[in-house]
Symmetry: D2
Subunit: 347 residues, 4 copies
């Protein structure tokens, strides 16, 4: 079986593995207070042109999302996101479990707009009984989104401006950040993210690491006592140096970005083959997640060799699926899939 | 100013006031353990033909909703309701503050159907990654709904059957229950509610009491340790006898139902006058909340004398408002409003 | 049976009852936005010499405690109190249910000292792994305490100074405030409380009202969005005017203080009779709660006529009990109890 | 600097590292559904003689504690533990953040007894106002405890019997389990733990793994929907196979127990040297954590070369510290420390 189900099917990039081996018997202090974490944080601040940012390393995305949101909000405050947002549909109510409502905005492409946020906040503030409704206070976006789409610099700037004018936090989930930043259509930089968001994170789990997300906090209001929050929510890794070592490696010589490019090149080839075979897409993703709409009969054939994720039914005879490439995707697997797709679809 | 803003503008029905005066210097034990509460519970069990039901008295609706839902659910479980549901849009995230997600179903008329619940649960259970999403476990409905509509016996039976087959709890918010049960279109009884729901409550605040909701729990699974939950959520009134005395009075000689009828008669007259004046309704409510769509210019005139609740904008020139009648509505106020409406709209 | 079990055995003071009757059919807006609440708040601000304080009315004490503490703390922060504190031992984990740990300090008399608070905070801040422990951020005291004792002005000033220097909030639970402020040993005023505490409340439930606590917030940091918190925790009474009317009455012509005096006079007589009969006290309470240590055989006799609260076993043959007087205690009941006590104990 | 601060100063045992390297480019499904996790679970069930147990792999101890306790308790229920319990003093209120109170029992040696649990539950159930206090429902113990002590089979059996008779869950935190099970004084087996506890976990982080705790659930009541709880609390590792691979290795050929022995042998040598140098211990630990009481002047010298954890001040001139050995402790470090200790203390 060849897996296109996700971008976390393999272990880690060999450069990381080498560093884990090399440092294995070093003695360090625990909980992220070691020199590897300090060095990784320094490299990330540099890459973000954000000398004053706080950088924390957490194990996974859900953990990071719930910790940041719980740290940012008072009890009556809500997070705003797209109705496709990972925190809304794929984290078992983790944000609600910390006591906060999620206000979901309609979205076709996984993104939300500054205008939507402005309208929501305006409606809340004009409501005479506003205290009877949860108060929007933080905007959560993911980039790339759950549908593989990305925000342009203009869109993100507009969202950032709206949030600042209205006194809301802007938090960006970058679980697949490398695959967004390195795609052709992107015009955002890490420095833009640090400048426009109050906090964002750089996904390691899906981009070359065994695990780990590097959280960058720009807004001083979100920095205070953040380590308490990590610990309280069970996100403080005892051997924190493992996170430091991994991000040190990823941000040494731009490894993070180079390996992201590979995934995008592999996705490009898949995308072309799918289009060439005459199929369309459920979402127009320029990144490493593709959502082709394929006939169920074809899927039945493909699923004998290839693992993918079922997205949703589109009509009586066809479904959208998700195919993921990653830093680890092998060219021969792409070759095989493309060949099989063309062969099977031309019958 | 004449208030049609809500059904809680006045104090309480005079029969209740008399009983509060008569019992004022009685000494009783606290926290609902007194004989008035016991007697009120007995009367309610009788009215529900539910000799085994547990009856608890709480001060208000939000308190009751959050306490029941928190008592019923494990941490990963969610409440299902209409997107107009009071718990979803008008309780400041009170359910989420207890840690639980709300799964909102689309609704035009404030109601949800058994088919919607079945489809939601089916989709959840067929999801291979079901543990990544909150698990639907309790269905919350209100009757009358937030739009004044009511469930038929057939609809409620279908919902109840769906919930039982699927292992979900069915919880009915009856904050305005009297106004639902006594309206012409209704074919449900208190006994039906006790038989079809796992828990429901009989609203006192909006139907003649100073405050208070009588919660009826039929399902033994929801009964266990319920008083701990009331206390923990701050809902256990020290002088609990005040709740007992009020519900004793309301359920003595059917006072609860008689005073509900008055509100409905007043609403009927309003409804007729609005129709006669040529206006339509945002929702087809047979109960004591009416949602006429009126021209903004007319509203500007009416608002000089009458207080109402703004519902939403309908088009450029007109808005939906909410008018409430209650057990306390005076005929002369209805007369005045109807006359003014006809006069102003005929200009 | 004559009840000395608590100070909430009866309904309300007749002056309040009269006002409830007089205002019963007034139409007002809901949720505490009416003119009675505004007037009561004005009277309370006046009585506190605190023109800038925010005043909110809540139904009960547990509700008030959990709402204030949840409003004040970030998720990793803890409330500090005596190990006898009501929030620690008698509210079913209500504070923990909002997510916050309680750090309990040892106390013999129900009070805690500035020195204890300073030592606790110092130990926390000197801990290298401080983020592995909950951060003390709010000090909760009750006055009178759960053992009937009271804070002197000097003690409260010392606590207040400690809290301000250390950046902690000071919150005073005044469920029985009148009985503290009017007792002979007291040297605190309402103005002192407003000046020394960040928030405190004036108990109505136990001092003449049917129910209700008036929360006074002095610290602007605690004021923001407080009504959202009340609503979210189910503490916002629909007919909020009932709270306004009651506190209006209590703070008109010092009724609150006058009726408190009565309870204290009744307690004085009980205290003298108990001492005269040769018994000692479990706690030295100058207020309306008395904790005599009595032989079990005597208690067996007394309990035929008088209801009291069992406190704890003291030795093999005797137990401490609690006797409460209140605004409603009748002189003839005190006479009877004292006579019976002397008679039974002299046998 | 030589670290005796903890048992998580190094990376992982070389056998684990080899397996991580060997499996690095395997493609597997995520979230613990892979064959390595299945195999590791099988080996653990075998080692526990518990064919019906559920085994889950989580990243760290705090995460595991809060997830199990939240899964086990209804909102009004509390966890019972020693006042030294990790959940009570060293997890930033993580359990309270899930809404549950901790009831701490006094303990000198880090352990609690069946008698203490029975007395606590009896007092709760005999309290007429029991619903005003949190209900004890789960007993949390750690073995070895935070003071390095261990439970005997007799003690654990008594606790287990008490819990079962009273209807409480017994949950054992085995973050350092290997160091307990392999010490000379121990008479418990893995099979005993599975039989006597409702759930317990086998610590990997401190015993040879990079990270990871293997949770064994024996009681069917705790099994239901447990994966939802892991996900909701952010504890579900995307590349779950990393946990499977590590525990597969640890439970292949008893590696877990062999490497535990090494730590104990190293601790034995430290213990002897400390005693030989004439010093006593703050706690009598037979396991890998030692708590010597040493003069401050000696500590000042030692701290130039050796890192340890400060425990507490014992008297004006001396303090208790904690020294940890582990699977990774090097003999030459022990040699050096013992020599320096003897040399410095004989001056």
């Amino acid at each position: 079986m060849i897996y296109f189900t996700s971008d976390y099917c393999e272990g880690c990039h060999e450069a990381i593995l080498r560093q884990l081996i090399a440092t294995n018997m070093e003695q360090t202090s625990g909980y992220g207070t070691d020199s590897h974490c300090a060095n990784a944080a320094r490299l990330i601040r540099q890459a973000c042109c954000a000398p004053d940012a706080d950088v924390h390393f957490l194990v996974g995305g859900t953990q990071t999302n719930l910790t940041v949101i719980d740290a940012a909000l008072r009890p009556h405050q809500a997070a705003v996101c797209a109705n496709t947002g990972h925190i809304h549909v794929h984290e078992t109510g983790a944000v609600e479990a910390t006591g906060h409502k999620i206000l979901a905005l309609p979205s076709e492409d996984g993104k939300i707009t500054a205008a939507q946020v402005r309208a929501l906040v305006k409606a809340h503030r004009e409501d005479e009984a506003m205290e009877h409704t949860a108060q929007p206070k933080l905007v959560y976006i993911s980039n790339p989104t759950e549908l593989g789409t990305i925000y342009s610099k203009q869109e993100l700037t507009a969202l950032s401006n709206a949030c600042r004018e209205l006194g809301l936090f802007l938090f960006l989930d970058g679980a697949r950040l490398g695959y967004g930043l390195m795609c052709r259509e992107n015009d955002l930089t890490m420095a833009d993210l640090a400048a426009l968001c109050d906090a964002f994170y750089i996904g390691g789990t899906k981009v070359g690491a065994l695990f780990g997300e590097a959280l960058v906090i720009s807004n001083p209001l979100l920095k205070e006592d953040f380590r308490y929050l990590i610990k309280q929510h069970g996100g403080m890794l005892a051997k924190g140096r493992l996170l430091g070592i991994q991000f040190e490696t990823l941000f040494d010589n731009n490894l993070y970005f180079q390996i992201s490019k590979h995934a995008l090149a592999m996705a490009d080839r898949l995308r072309e083959a799918i289009a060439q075979a005459g199929f369309s897409f459920y979402a127009e993703s320029p990144t490493n997640q593709l959502f082709p709409i394929l006939p169920d009969s074809l899927l039945a054939e493909l699923s004998k060799t290839y693992a993918y994720t079922y997205q949703c039914r589109v009509d009586e005879h066809s479904s959208a699926i998700r195919l993921c490439t990653s830093w680890a995707t092998r060219e021969e697997h792409i070759d095989a899939f493309c060949a099989d797709l063309l062969r099977l679809s031309s019958r």
